[in-house]
Symmetry: C2
Subunit: 337 residues, 2 copies
């Protein structure tokens, strides 16, 4: 079933069919109807690869560190909702998380497949690499705090979010508040990463509130394992913290497990707060205090920005979501002792 078959069946040229398929300018209504009828009758679908050789692929590539993080599911739902109406299809590739070489390969895989636009979630590569990519392919970067003239940024205001958590814990009466962050070995680009913002804000607020002496950071990772290990490090301190602010919900789950395993209760002995407000955090038997940053809106916006760029926009846009604190039962005043 090729464009030639359709042309023959409709008794017109392939050019005419091509124009109808692409909704291009310069086709009479009669022609449109006739060709469309042939298309429907023959069940013709354009050959994707042939199309890609000259024009668009109607594909948006999404680069995710990994699909385990439930927050990404929200982002993807938003994106899908936004782009599906326009005939675009999202394809996802895992970048593998924290290995820059693997991340680069994943990015190249999308470029090679000539996606019309790329949504890159939480990239860990150098900014130069992103700009290089964005020169040729419309790009939206999600979850990074740098600014660029060639790609759009969608992010949550992690400074506000982290501040909300730390202030909340201080208001409850906590002083020894520990933090679990993600440690990446990426010289020079740390300042742009969201984990850096969250950690620095934690330190800033602690300092501003006269609690600099109580700053305690476990640098592991934003995963369940990282949270578990990080919480164990923090709980081993003497005196131990009365509250733990984990930089991500996954890490907070790991922290809850570690607290539990240490024979302590939440929030009786230790309060725990997370970030992202993953769906699971709201379940009654977990009831994790967390920062909500509406991933669906972020994904939807990223999709819109991408379509705009594909459509020709070249100016850079920056979209920042203001997060809110959702307090649940995992945080409470510290024990009296």
């Amino acid at each position: 079933m090729t464009i030639t078959d359709v042309a023959r069946h409709a008794q017109v040229s392939t050019t005419a069919v091509s124009k109808v398929v692409r909704n291009a300018y310069g086709v009479s209504e009669a022609m449109r109807v006739k060709v469309q009828a042939a298309i429907d009758e023959l069940g013709y679908r354009p050959h994707h690869a042939a199309r890609a050789m000259r024009g668009r692929t109607f594909t948006i590539g999404v680069l995710l560190p990994h699909i385990r993080n439930p927050f990404f599911a929200d982002i993807l739902d938003g994106l899908t909702e936004e782009i599906s109406a326009s005939g675009y299809q999202a394809i996802m590739v895992q970048s593998g998380g924290r290995d820059p070489a693997a991340e680069r390969r994943a990015g190249d895989a999308l470029v090679d497949r000539q996606v019309d636009g790329i949504l890159w979630v939480a990239p860990c590569c150098a900014k130069a690499q992103l700009e290089q990519l964005a020169k040729d392919t419309p790009t939206v970067v999600l979850g990074r705090h740098d600014r660029s003239a060639v790609y759009d940024c969608v992010l949550d205001d992690d400074e506000v979010g982290a501040e909300l958590v730390v202030e909340h814990l201080i208001a409850l009466g906590h002083r020894r508040i520990g933090h679990i962050t993600q440690k990446d070995d990426l010289p020079g680009r740390a300042a742009a990463l969201l984990q850096t913002i969250r950690a620095r804000t934690y330190e800033r607020v602690m300092t501003e509130r006269g609690l600099a002496a109580h700053i305690a950071v476990a640098a592991t990772s934003y995963s369940e394992e990282g949270g578990y290990e990080g919480a164990r490090q923090l709980l081993a301190r003497d005196p131990r913290p009365t509250a733990i602010f984990a930089g991500a919900d996954g890490a907070a789950f790991g922290a809850l497990a570690a607290v539990h395993e240490a024979g302590l209760t939440v929030p009786g002995d230790v309060s725990v707060a997370g970030y992202d407000n993953a769906r699971m955090s709201g379940l009654a038997h977990i009831a994790l205090t967390s920062v909500d940053q509406d991933g669906a809106i972020m994904g939807k916006t990223a999709g819109r920005l991408l379509l705009e760029r594909i459509d020709g926009r070249t100016s850079a846009v920056r979209f920042s979501v203001t997060p809110t604190l959702v307090t649940r039962r995992s945080t409470a005043p510290p024990p009296r002792s």
Copy 2:
């Protein structure tokens, strides 16, 4: 940067370059070295679309209902590990879960993009559609219990798994054991779906053990919401069950929340067991009894089978994993009362 540039630079024909790139038969070592040098020097990367017009895309398409289910992450890890060495790239597409029309669109999107093979996870479409697809594209279906001569199947023995759970609960002394299943509106193909097997096995074992009168099934869905709602239905019965077997861990999490919200304790008042042994289930503060089915092995096997099929195998293979029960603190003997 085209194959012609490389050919000119190396002073050879494009055919020679093509053969070197594809590792094809009939190239002298000297030629290989010379061409490879030119490729490296020029940083040549084959044009994907042009390649797709004639031969392979070196792409494997993965069709997932949605990326929220953490079990799928295990599958993908296994798949990636298996195929990465062979130069294949996995791209994922969300089928949207339970809408057959959306699922078909997602499948078509992969076919249109000429992936060399498809791993279809938990499809809900008719078997005929799968066979239609498999006629043209090497296909592996994961998590369905039908047999086919044209595609391979990778699955876990859900009958064994469900039996393990129910027997475990009975051995603990439970008699009123409820089950949460997923209800799809797919006439005729229910028997092939894993949720059907799990539910039927539950009913079979209950009956065999003389507990037919205590069978109680909540037909919602394998999600947190579904588990929550299903558990509420079960707990509303009088007398209420002393144990709940949720057909998936996500649903079990929802069930835990519902039990908690009802002012009951786990496992004091109600035992809860899940299926899949998601990573989170093992965390100390959740400690969910669950059935382990090693998704990484399943994904790895699926990858291998796909590569074999791409390589020419036409006979159908069926790979079944035997699951094991992991008992944790969420299940215990029923209250005395």
